[in-house]
Symmetry: C2
Subunit: 129 residues, 2 copies
């Protein structure tokens, strides 16, 4: 038995538009911006959580990539969750060290990642038999 939930909403922008977009979403969402800028090693910037402890984050993506929003499913067992969502029709696009990038059956990108926010995960994850 493992658990998962839609745990992160990411707003992705390439370097060209990242800074203006990050300023916009931080102000629009009444969120401070972290002191640390996103880097190639850690391209994420966490904004104020959405209610229910769903994380809202910005990601600086590669040059020329389109701006987009994508969802992360956080789970206490990445392998089991990958087996579950691929059985439902998703396909794995890329494996990274601790997470995976997938497409839904219509080609929409999403990720499966380890638990990012333990308290909120405990409160609202779904258990899969």
């Amino acid at each position: 038995m493992h658990r998962s939930r839609i745990g992160v909403v990411l707003i992705d922008h390439p370097g060209e538009s990242y800074e203006v977009a990050a300023e916009f979403w931080a102000a629009a969402h009444a969120s401070p911006r972290p002191d640390k800028c996103p880097t190639a090693e850690s391209p994420y910037e966490e904004l104020r959580h959405l209610p229910g402890g769903v994380e809202l984050a910005l990601q600086r993506t590669g040059p020329g990539t389109p701006p987009r929003v994508h969802l992360d499913i956080e789970t206490d067992d990445v392998e089991a969750e990958l087996a579950r969502v691929t059985a439902l029709g998703a396909t794995i696009v890329e494996r990274r060290e601790s997470h995976a990038i997938l497409q839904d059956p219509g080609g929409l990108l999403f990720c499966v990642v380890p638990v990012q926010n333990p308290d909120a995960f405990e409160a609202s994850a779904t258990s899969w038999p």
Copy 2:
């Protein structure tokens, strides 16, 4: 003084991939699908809410449109919210009867809509002076 919050996460798919994608996300999120199918007049299908009363919905978009996720900002005063977010750098792409489609400063689509989920809105909307 008006209020707003990021209130809806929408998964958009064109008709070609809508049904397989809708089945996938409903199963992935342990959500029943509504009895009523989306139509041209009402292209939305609401899944089980995310924690905190953020709505998760599917939208059947026009033929050939790319699959994507977009965010809706729900507000108790659409005009005031449009003034606020355009002052922050967003641009209005299209006005509809009760809502508007916008782009953030990096070209990412989002919408400003009237309050969709009153109880959750009351609990977590931000007040703007």
